[in-house]
Amino acid sequence: MRYLLFILMLASPAMAVEPSEMLADPVLEARARVISKGLRCVVCQNENIDDSNAGIAADLRVLVRERLTLGDTDEETMQYVVDRYGEYVLLKPTFFGSNMILWLMGPFLLLAGGFGAIVFIRGRGKQRPEEGLDADEQEKLARLLRD
């Protein structure tokens, strides 16, 4: 049941941005759309306000457009929303504090894993036999010679 509930919330089926909400100035509207895609609809499951059909998402879309019309920059608009709704609305987590671990996990694992892989590959290469026999063949040869 929860799964169903979840899908239900994920997929608000009707429209997201309504024509009535949109700004006449295409440049301003385009900026609003970009900002909206980075803001989470707080009552939805992992959905941004641009795609969401929830009432509160519509309110936020209008709020973003109001701030832009008042002359706020993109950053100021974002900050305005975060100040009121908390970091929860940011779909892209900040690059501060413990979130550093999240952001740096990929590069760190790549370096660590890459180091391990290089050590492994180097190790494989060093055992290169002079006669063109690989280790298994050498082992067999040794066994044959012993017998």
Partner: protein
């Protein structure tokens, strides 16, 4: 009556699973053959019992037996027959029964077709498989029983979520589960190998086809889900980095890594310990995915805490399976040594790089998916990790993978001279860069996404072509001889070229639609004609119609592209039982672009809200995924995996009646 039989069969299957988990394992340790062979009939009987149990539940749905709680909660007598049947697994309990059934199918397959396996290995594999079965059957019976009766049956059911009443989503879960659960085979083989302390080419030859099959199913399942989202949700999104999607994507990434590393084990007898670890990790991702989706922890940590029975149970399974497997691995991995030699530039090294990138990418998805939970548990703060994070943190690994792929794929085993191997590739590389540059020079707006994406996509596809041209010595020997050489290449080589080309097509589709999509959202008046990216649209009329269990509001829109014109019919459906609206976008599909129209609500002051998108090359994403799956399938039918063919005939009668 049938429902009670289904319940009874379920409990019997649980008992047989317990027997199968214990007896063959002891037999294999002690070398008692008659204890080991118990695994074969128990696995087959379990399969038949679960087929029976599943059939009983399906029957209850088909005849709309509302005295069964699950049917009452999730079905309705007016629902089309197709969705009565698919409704069986469109809920928690039924889907877990399907999970167990698929687990039993895989177990029975090894029991039936595994005559050429060493008896100890088969006994251990089936025993581990049964342990997983015991855990999940217990989960089903004790926390999620699908056969519960109601004292007072309602007159009609609650119906199925309208969004699930769709062919794309109806068949999405079975494919995903075939993939998820198929990875249990690789897991069971890995555990058996750790117990025996032996991994050899024969082991890899057994593990690889199972992994490949699971991977093909996962690929199809994920593609179906993404396609469904595209046409159903009303704005043409196809991937959201949603935790549920990630839950299926992580096992896919791990399985992709695994089926590549298993090649190294099979062909070169090295990378053994890593491959065993990957097999464990791949199935662990399946379990984590099951936990995330089934526990409700994703919706909210609090939802998990208020009804913890199911979540705790799966978490317990998770801890025992993953913890136990990794502990066993820590003690036994050092027995899996190999002495194969290869140099820095070799196919082996290429596949190590493939595994490194895919594993790190999977880890990034895992950490991103779990991070909000980690933060909430440790600090109590609520944060979100969404698409913008994954786009930034995941994509670079895929870019590097795409750059390295054609080179790694063309390098010979053991030792390569990079200069020699690269010879057939230089031309293709130049051509791909030229294509990218051309796109960059001609497009309006300066986004680098399309040029880079197109360069990488064509590099992968052309690289695969170059590989084939090289191997058939195209241009060096008469054409007819080249064609003959091409025909005689092993199926697995064809599979490789197909799967890699499929990846190229996906990359092309994603970058093209992301960079070049155009949209128009407006209040449209009847008869008003307007333009978007060279297409002209006119709203002719809006009418009300009736569907089988929903009402329809349907618009007729005239589309003209200069040379021809056609009509499109976007709909809104209102499901009567659930009082829930869904959008049915009208999509005009072609290889170069989709015209995507979604109908919105009537507006104050007349007219309707209409959203129109032109989505260039978007279908390449799913065509690419299908080509990829076809590649896996082709590889699966390679001659060297058909070693089990003779024994198949002999064993067939046992499994035949149930299929």
């Amino acid at each position: 009556m049938f429902v009670e039989l289904g319940q009874y069969a379920l409990i019997l299957a649980f008992v047989f699973a317990i027997v199968q988990a214990i007896i063959p394992m002891i037999g294999a340790q002690k070398g008692w053959n008659n204890w080991m062979v118990i695994a074969v009939p128990t696995a087959q009987i379990q399969f038949i019992l679960l087929i029976g149990s599943f059939a009983a539940l399906t029957y209850a749905f088909v005849v709309s037996d509302f005295s069964v709680q699950l049917v009452a909660n999730n079905s309705h007598s007016d629902k089309p027959m197709l969705y009565k049947v698919t409704g069986v697994w469109a809920n928690h309990e039924g889907s877990m029964l399907l999970w167990n059934l698929i687990l039993a199918i895989f177990g029975a397959a090894v029991a039936t077709f595994g005559n050429n396996l060493p008896p100890e290995l088969r006994a251990r594999v089936l025993s581990v498989q049964a342990m997983i079965g015991v855990a999940f059957l217990a989960f089903l019976i004790f926390t999620s029983n699908p056969f519960l009766r109601l004292d007072i049956p309602p007159i009609n059911g609650n119906g199925l979520n309208p969004l699930l009443q769709d062919p794309g989503l109806a068949f999405h879960p079975p494919f995903l589960y075939l993939g998820y659960v198929g990875l249990s085979m690789a897991f069971s083989f890995a555990i058996a190998a750790l117990i025996e302390g032996k991994v050899d080419a024969a082991w890899a030859r057994w593990v690889r086809p199972w992994t490949l099959a699971a991977w093909v199913f996962l690929t199809i399942g994920i593609a179906l889900g993404s396609w469904w989202a595209y046409y159903e949700l009303g704005w043409g999104g196809y991937w959201f980095w949603d935790p549920v999607e990630n839950s299926s994507f992580m096992p896919w990434l791990a399985a992709t890594a695994l089926l590549h590393s298993a090649i190294v084990v099979e062909k070169r007898d090295t990378l053994k310990a890593w491959t065993v670890l990957l097999a464990i990790i791949a199935f662990s991702f399946s379990l984590i995915g099951t936990f995330l989706v089934r526990s409700g922890i994703l919706t909210s940590v609090h939802a998990f805490a208020t009804d913890p029975a199911r979540g705790t149970f799966v978490l317990g399974i998770l801890a025992v399976a993953i913890g136990g497997a990794l502990t066993l691995y820590a003690f036994r991995a050092n027995t899996l040594k190999s002495h194969a030699v290869f140099s820095t530039f070799s196919r082996e090294s290429g596949l190590v790089l493939n595994n490194l990138l895919l594993s790190v990418a999977a880890a990034v998805v895992l950490v991103g998916t779990l991070w909000p939970l980690v933060i909430e548990f440790t600090t109590g703060d609520k944060i979100s990790v969404g698409a913008p994070f994954f786009d930034m943190a995941f994509t670079p690994f895929m870019v590097v993978l795409a750059m390295a792929l054609p080179i790694g794929a063309i390098l010979p085993w053991k030792r390569a001279k990079l200069g020699n191997s690269m010879k057939p590739l230089w031309g293709m590389m130049a051509l791909s860069v030229a294509l990218g540059t051309y796109v960059w020079a001609t497009q309006t707006g300066g986004r680098m996404l399309a040029p880079i994406g197109l360069t990488l996509a064509s590099w992968i596809i052309l690289g695969a072509v170059a590989d084939f041209a090289n191997r058939s010595r195209f241009g060096q020997i008469p054409l007819r001889d080249s064609m003959r050489r091409l025909r005689n290449l092993p199926r697995s080589d064809w599979g490789k070229v197909l799967a890699h080309s499929g990846l190229g097509m996906i990359i092309f589709g994603i970058s093209a639609v992301t960079a070049w999509e155009t949209e128009d959202i407006r209040t449209t008046q009847f008869g008003e004609r307007y333009e978007l990216s060279g297409y002209y649209f006119t709203l002719n009329k809006v009418e009300n119609l009736e569907g089988p269990n929903y009402d329809i509001v349907r618009a007729e829109i005239l589309v003209e592209d200069g040379s021809k014109s056609w009509l499109m019919y976007p709909e809104k459906r209102n499901f009567i039982v659930q009082r829930m609206p869904t959008t049915e976008a009208a999509i005009d599909i072609s290889l170069t672009r989709d015209v995507y129209i979604a109908l919105g609500d009537p507006q104050e002051g007349g007219g309707y809200a209409v959203r129109i998108y032109i989505k260039p090359f978007v279908d390449w994403i799913w065509i690419g995924a299908m080509v990829m799956a076809l590649g896996g399938l082709t590889s699966l039918f390679d001659r060297r995996y058909r070693v089990a063919a003779p024994s198949r005939k002999r064993a067939k009668p046992l499994a035949a009646p149930a299929e």
